[in-house]
């Protein structure tokens, strides 16, 4: 199954399927990434995020389905394709004895154009260890070097596989600022992350995957709006008396209830806070002030993926 290359789409995936032995890593996956957008793939470990991104990068051959990146087949059009993309892999990828500066200069030389190295190094905070060997760097430093090497060729489309894992909050902020500036210049960003607040704050479109399939996709705010979730209420179990999960789940505004040893989490629409509050008063339970917050991407993720997800603890 193939389709026509598009000028407005950076990535076109149609019915992608990839199997390792008995394990179906990606199954009937279809999505599109608009040119010039920041596209984020989220999902629990084993959801198929890395397999998907590696099929887009041409590192893996799909068992069936079609992938077009910048209108090119990543494997059949490899020679043209590699000039249009930048890639950050999760694995090491650099000889441990190579110095950071050498890696930057070598990679810059591979492409027809390159970003200014001094700016790249300053923005991604590499200046402090340019003369160090890659193998001697900390995990976060290595990650930043790998991000820099993905961007150095000024690609049309950059694929970043968990770029912010292991980065401290300040580095994550700097990373996203720089990525957004590259995006504003027209670079398409395809990224995977475990940090859902990042996906919501920085990405135009989110693709939530689980067990190799699309759970939902769209702009994060729209997903939240369409989910029917408006708020999440946390109730301390000790103050609830005889009230249990089932009682709360029966309320009309409640979409989902999850109990832990100490708390009950109630997810619901716009009326959930008032309804829960009234119900508890009727039953004589007195949890005091209700702890509630607006629904977030975390909640959608949790409801779709279940407690195994990284943010599943609520």
């Amino acid at each position: 199954m193939s389709r026509e290359p598009s000028d407005t789409l950076a990535v076109q995936v149609t019915s992608l399927r990839k199997v390792y032995g008995d394990v179906v890593a990606v199954d009937d996956l279809s999505f599109e990434v608009e040119r010039g957008s920041i596209f984020c793939i989220i999902g629990p470990n084993g959801a198929g995020k890395t397999t998907t991104i590696e099929c887009l990068e041409g590192l893996r051959q799909a068992d069936s389905g079609a992938v077009l990146v910048a209108g090119l087949d990543p494997i059949a059009d490899h020679a043209k394709f590699v000039h249009k993309i930048g890639v950050q892999l999760q694995e090491i990828g650099i000889p441990p004895r190579m110095k950071v500066r050498e890696a930057l200069h070598l990679f810059a030389a591979l492409y027809r154009t390159s970003l200014p190295l001094s700016e790249l190094s300053a923005e991604l905070e590499l200046d402090g260890f340019l003369s160090k060997r890659y193998g001697s760097l900390s995990g976060g430093q290595k990650r930043r070097v790998n991000i820099a090497l993905a961007l150095v060729g000024d690609p049309e489309i950059v694929f970043l596989d968990e770029p912010t894992t292991g980065l401290d909050p300040e580095s994550r902020f700097q990373f996203w600022e720089y990525i957004r500036r590259q995006n504003a210049r027209g670079m398409t960003i395809v990224v995977t992350t475990h940090y859902l607040e990042e996906a919501r704050e920085y990405c135009d479109t989110v693709l939530l995957m689980n067990e190799g399939r699309v759970v939902t996709t769209g702009p994060p705010e729209r997903l939240i709006a369409e989910s029917g979730l408006a708020a999440r209420v946390v109730l301390p179990r000790a103050a609830l008396g005889t009230v249990g999960e089932d009682d709360l789940a029966a309320l009309p505004s409640v979409v989902h209830v999850r109990g832990t040893e100490t708390s009950i989490y109630v997810y619901g629409d716009g009326n959930v806070v008032g309804e829960v509050s009234d119900f508890l008063s009727e039953r004589g339970a007195s949890p005091g002030v209700l702890e509630a917050r607006p629904a977030s991407l975390d909640d959608i993720y949790f409801l779709a993926v279940g407690p195994e997800g990284p943010e599943g603890g609520g």
């Binding site: 993309i85 694995e91 004895r97 030389a109 492409y111």
Partner: protein, 262 residues
């Protein structure tokens, strides 16, 4: 691939090689040490070489030590050092990383080969200079034939090392295997001492080892042997040429079939 990138890749690979003290020791310092140690001890032993007209020309062991050393330096590179680089590329996902860049994958084999060739040439040049200054060594061969033999030996061992480590994903395993294969080859080739001193069975094993052929080829050519001259293996020089060529070709084919990029 553009010339700037190619130059940067080779220079970077050279820097990486220089930062690997073990490989530099084995390819430059050890052969020099062996050259000097043997040159000052057994170096004065005479080697009578019979020429066609029945004339006997007298050389000394030290004249030819260098040629033998270069034979095993090419083997050290091919069996020990080159696989370290290639296995490291495999182990750390470096082949994979470059596959998503405009760098053609084969360049990642060509570049270390070029660097290794440079190191062999430097090792040879240093021994030539020291040999000339310290021992006034003599060369009676055809330089082109010697150069061809060094190149053949270099490529054959590089192919051999690449083939035997084609699927290994740990530099330690590759190092262990490389040394385990190189050490007996080194001893049985005669580079460690005259083969005649070994039991017959070990001499017979040695006859089939590529390093023995490379060693005999280079030492005999250094002293002016022709294609037809019989070496210690009991075969003419051209047979050792062909043998190394066959070993190299078989190993190239095996490498192409077995080699894993990740």
């Amino acid at each position: 691939m553009n010339p700037t990138a190619l130059r940067k890749l080779v220079v970077t690979e050279l820097l990486l090689a220089l930062r690997e003290p073990g490989a530099m020791f084995m390819s430059v310092i050890l052969p020099m040490a062996v050259f000097l140690a043997l040159g000052f001890s057994v170096g004065v032993i005479e080697i009578p070489v019979e020429r066609d007209a029945g004339v006997v020309e007298i050389f000394h062991v030290r004249d030819v030590l260098l040629a033998g050393n270069i034979a095993w330096v090419t083997a050290v590179f091919g069996i020990v050092a080159l696989p370290q680089t290639l296995v490291e590329f495999r182990q750390h996902g470096i082949f994979r990383r470059y596959r998503v860049t405009p760098m053609p994958s084969y360049m990642l084999i060509i570049a270390p080969l070029a660097v290794g060739a440079a190191i062999v040439v430097v090792s040879l040049a240093l021994m030539l200079v020291v040999g000339w200054l310290v021992f006034s060594i003599r060369f009676a061969g055809n330089a082109a034939m010697v150069a061809l033999a060094i190149l053949l030996s270099y490529l054959a061992f590089a192919a051999f090392g690449t083939a035997i480590t084609a699927r290994i994903r740990s530099t330690r395993t590759a190092l262990g295997l490389g040394l385990a294969l190189f050490a007996p080859m080194f001893v049985l080739s005669g580079a460690f001492g005259p083969r005649e001193a070994f039991p017959t069975v070990l001499q017979l094993v040695g006859d089939w080892l590529p390093l023995t052929h490379a060693y005999d080829l280079l030492t005999f050519l250094w002293l002016g042997a022709t294609w037809e001259t019989e070496t210690t293996i009991g075969v003419p020089v051209w047979v050792s040429f062909v043998y190394l060529g066959v070993v190299g070709t078989v190993c190239v084919v095996a490498s192409v079939r077995l080699f894993r990029w990740d």
